[in-house]
Amino acid sequence: MSNIADAMLFVPRRGEAVASRLACLLVQPLLARIIGSIAGRHPSLLARLGPHQATSFLIDPIELPFMFYLRPDPQALVLRAFPRDRAPRAGAVIRGRFMLLLEMIDSEVDGDAAFFSRDLEVSGETEAVVQLRNALDDIDGSIAEEIAEMFGVPGRAVLTQLRKAYPSEVKGHTAS
């Protein structure tokens, strides 16, 4: 794929929209647990967000049937999944392949490079996106692995499978 513009976007087929809504409902408790755990382990992440703790973010893994809605307000943390046709409006939108977004969270890939290569798109409040990116970048270790660890052996197995399922096709990796 050359970039996000010609990437394979998710287009729901008959029956998939219903399945997507059901899946979103089922994962809400897990997402709430995940965001609560991350906020508890990394208070500096929220502090570095400054005024954009109150901003809402829509995180769009383009090849999946749902999007994530994040509001990193420490007083009322929200992380929810929404089917594409029911996603709420948000202050900022971040779009890219799922694994790119996951690797950006863990600083395994450079966000600016992904933007230059057009693998990453942002819209809405650019300042909020930059502040979120910088706040995440100050975290040591892997948030993906922390999340996987929360769910024990099944969690680690899912992460391993995800990494296998997404070969290193993301541009912006260092070539070293």
């Binding site: 050359s2 970039n3 513009a5 010609d6 570095r48 967000l49 400054g50 954009h52 950006m104 600083s107 395994e108 890939v109 450079d110 966000g111 600016d112 490079a113 933007f115 230059f116 290569s117 057009r118 798109e121 942002v122 819209s123 809405g124 409040e125 650019t126 300042e127 996106v129 930059v130 502040q131 979120l132 990116r133 910088n134 706040a135 970048d137 100050d138 975290i139 040591d140 541009k171 912006g172 990796h173 260092t174 070539a175 070293s176």
Partner: protein
């Protein structure tokens, strides 16, 4: 042979640790305010974070250089004096300064502290550099990215301080420390507020055909086709239509990064003391990749081996790289 110190960027404490671990000889950083030229949201250090970072670096024989490289507006110097006092108290190894008032304050109030002249001072002649050395005790100059290697060699003979040159990253050639393009569209000053193209004034729009336009302060400064690589949303790297070029063209500069990996031996031979990597706004991934690549290259050269340099083009702006003026003044 010069020492060829590797001077590396850090926008966060985690990036500083990454740079040190990847082999930086020194790391440069700034406080979370207008006293430095990367005053970006979510970036930079609190005094407490800087204290811990200095300890981390010093424990691993790396230096910390504090950028105070913006210009205080007239009558509003308190923030800069406070940053100078805090930095000196935390034991940073040098200050990177551009403003003569800041240099004077440090020389008067913290005698003995090492001063490096920022690229933001745009000192490109022996006369200008000697002035800063004589009056403020500057020990090193970061040269603007407008000089050829032969010119650097000649300057080195005529100045009493060390030379630092950029070797990788942003290739911004507008007269550094004097550029006011951002001010025209946003009201904020690159040189006094420390932010070029403030993110709060940037907006990206995706169009039906897959193209993407970037806007600053409501003005469209570029539009990338879906098969084009993108650059930073800075006016100097925008594409504009003009009466003589209606199709739109890069009127000032192009989105391209400096990469001097192949010129390192010549730079060392010309007397360059330190190599600077740009990118405090970039991620730990960038810092890790670029610093470790240049660490290996510099070590190879020091050991008399051909430098084995990694391909860093994926990390460059617009995914294009240049030797810029270091090779020829006709690089465009």
């Amino acid at each position: 042979m010069s020492l060829a110190e590797l001077i590396c960027p850090a926008g966060t404490p985690a990036a500083l640790r990454t740079a040190v671990d990847a082999g930086a000889d020194a790391v440069y950083c700034g406080f979370q305010n207008a006293t430095n030229a990367r005053n970006f949201p979510g970036l930079n250090f609190t005094p407490q974070e800087l204290r811990e970072s200095v300890a981390y670096a010093h424990a691993r024989n790396a230096k910390v250089l504090l950028a105070l490289n913006t210009y205080p507006p007239a009558g509003k110097t308190d923030l800069w004096w406070q940053a100078a006092d805090i930095g000196a108290g935390l034991g940073v190894d040098a200050f990177i300064i551009a403003d003569m008032g800041v240099a004077h304050y440090l020389a008067q109030n913290h005698p003995g502290i090492r001063l490096h002249l920022s690229v933001q001072a745009a000192a490109s002649s022996p006369e200008a550099i000697r002035y800063y050395c004589q009056h403020f005790g500057v020990k090193r100059v970061v040269l603007p990215r407008i000089l050829t290697i032969p010119e650097i060699r000649e300057i080195r003979k005529e100045i009493p301080c060390e030379i630092e040159t950029f070797i990788f990253g942003n290739h911004g050639l507008m007269v550094e420390g004097r550029c006011s393009l951002t001010s025209y569209l946003t009201g904020k000053s690159t040189n006094m507020d420390g932010v070029c193209s403030p993110a709060a004034d940037v907006e990206y729009k995706r169009h039906e055909d897959g193209s993407m336009s970037s806007q600053l302060g409501g003005f469209t400064i570029d539009c990338f086709r879906c098969d084009e690589k993108a650059g930073y949303p800075t006016i100097c790297k925008g594409r504009y239509a003009a009466p003589h070029r209606r199709e739109g063209y890069y009127a000032f500069e192009e989105p391209v990064s400096l990469n001097l990996s192949r010129l390192l031996p010549e730079l060392i031979d010309a007397g360059v003391h330190a190599f600077k990597i740009e990118g405090r706004q970039r991620s730990k991934s960038y810092v890790r990749g670029v610093v470790s690549a240049f660490r290996r290259a510099v070590d190879d050269i020091r050991a008399g081996r051909p430098a084995n340099m990694a391909d860093l083009v994926a990390l460059t702006e617009g995914q294009k790289q240049t030797h810029g003026a270091f090779e020829t003044k006709k690089w465009r």
